[in-house]
Symmetry: C2
Subunit: 335 residues, 2 copies
């Protein structure tokens, strides 16, 4: 067992993309747990687009991370020392302890998870926030119905992959937008998409969507924002719904893109709806039961993109915004 | 009785604002009605922002008006000669016969209206499309609830005036956006608004809305679009709803404004919803009963802005887009 806790703290607020230059590595002695606390060994950390928002000056809907604070984030850890009767050494738990290798945390702040339902890798992806975001976003926010046409941006990303598969299970026709031929090939081969559009190869994205969705789009699940949103709105059917899950093209943009097609919402009787998955927390068990059932039946999986070592966490945050990940990005920290 | 039918046909498609130069006056002998037809004398014609859309190259959700065709539009007429057993000379009817003084129409294409419920002027405004648009837009599309804060753009316009009064009846706090001190004064004096913002006098509209709505906006009823929409989105509360009823700032714009604040919809869990009032046609009777009841109780009225003479119809269409009307714009044609 290590007697040092390695961690990353926020060292500077990025103006554009975030990367290693905005974080500082620190090493501290591990702190022995007191009553009601646990000493943990971090196994996996999640790296998510929302993190770029949390470190900005004014995130809006969550408290910002202050300079000098440990970077916030979720993950899975093993209990090394327990001073709480609910946990034993060797238990695996979900944590929100952030980017550190051996945190000491309150037992109230971790959550056991059911290894019979899924592996730690499943709990980092499909049964974690990305799977739940896909599930509630497409079904509850998007109100998707069998036979509809679903368009997904950021389709090769963590949430997008799962949205495609759920739409397929729901008997929809599902088209993915992704950057590059490899990602596009994986959408139709591995993730249940019926067609894929390489947005980097299309000079007129709206026209490309129109060719792939000749009857129009019923639900657009948007992880990207910006000009992609304009192109999708132009193809909405009457009664169409846009689910705004993320806007990775805009998160670190120096100037926000202005969406010009909102006037089309009138004649299309269409809506755009934003959401935050934690609002569905009371129904996470329902979502996980459904996701795990589909996973067990072989219809649903989540590809993890694994980086090795805590040092890779700040690197991974930049990768997300350069589109260099395929699937849910995680950092493997220990054993 | 006149034996000539005066009418305006579309003579040219406007690039920007529409006006008299885009219409041609024609005079034709009246056509004697055949069996099942009526000869009408037009009393009032409605002049609406949507007309500018109908005469564009590609309106989107309704057929365009062809060059040389009589300008489309609704109004109220008196029956001069009836060849249908359901109507007698002197009856008042609602029509869709467009910009003509003495049309001959099929009796199936007109609708009698109940003069006990409202005067012809009431049926042109409050009990017509503008009142119904306000009613279904605010209540059904906006889902407004007592105690909420409602912001209305184009508040001195036909629909906006009624939205303000309905919001007041629904026990909301309602703030109007209008251009100029006179219009703003009329909002609070005559139309039930609790406050008004003169957008022409505000260098920072978002900040002005924030001052008038310190707790944020629950429902934004938008008749205007463009930068006003951005300023309103910036002030939405969590769970906020934007009703896109119109976008008069953009209808004849040479370049569409790009809305930059859509990313805020995520954290605000907010939605933008477009609608077309005719989708509620099956419930128009319900809407008119409610509107007429509130009118009879003295809580709801519609100010008409009356232009005199058929020749004023093309002039009025331009006035709408220059913000020169206060209230529902109609043209008085005969009697």
């Amino acid at each position: 067992m290590s007697n040092a806790n390695h961690r990353f703290v926020l060292a500077a607020r990025p103006a554009g993309l975030a990367g290693p230059e905005h974080f500082a590595a620190q090493t501290r002695p591990v702190r022995a747990p007191e009553a009601g606390e646990l000493l943990l060994e971090t196994l996996y950390l999640s790296v998510d687009p929302a993190m770029r928002v949390w470190i900005s000056e004014n995130p809006g809907y969550v408290p910002r991370i202050e300079l000098g604070d440990t970077m916030r984030g979720s993950g899975i850890s093993r209990v090394l020392i327990s001073r709480d009767s609910r946990f034993d050494t060797g238990d695996l738990v979900q944590t929100r302890a952030g980017w550190q290798s051996h945190p000491t945390v309150r037992a109230d702040d971790v959550e056991a998870f059911d290894r019979a339902v899924g592996t730690p890798e499943d709990w980092m992806g499909l049964l974690g926030m990305t799977g739940l975001t896909a599930y509630f976003g497409l079904r509850d926010v998007g109100g998707v119905r069998p036979g509809e046409t679903v368009l997904v941006s950021g389709a090769a990303g963590a949430v997008g992959q799962v949205v495609g598969q759920i739409a397929n299970i729901e008997q929809c026709r599902v088209i993915g937008l992704a950057g590059g031929p490899e990602k596009c090939a994986s959408l139709t081969r591995d993730h249940g998409f019926h067609a894929a559009i390489d947005y980097k190869a299309e000079p007129d994205l709206a026209a490309a969507i129109a060719r792939a969705c000749p009857g129009g789009v019923d639900v657009f699940y948007d992880n990207v924002g910006g000009p992609t949103l304009d192109a999708a709105i132009a193809n909405l059917r009457i009664g169409g719904r846009v689910v705004i899950c993320g806007r990775i093209s805009q998160t670190a943009a120096s100037e926000l893109y202005g969406v010009k097609n909102l006037g089309l919402l009138i004649g299309r009787r269409a809506r755009i709806q934003g959401f935050v998955v934690t609002d569905f927390a009371a129904r996470f068990a329902e979502g996980r039961t459904w996701l795990a059932g589909q996973h067990a039946a072989g219809r649903l999986h989540q590809r993890l993109h694994v980086l090795d070592g805590l040092d890779q966490a700040p690197v991974g945050l930049g990768m997300l915004f350069r589109g260099e990940n395929t699937g849910k990005l995680v950092v493997k920290v220990n054993g």
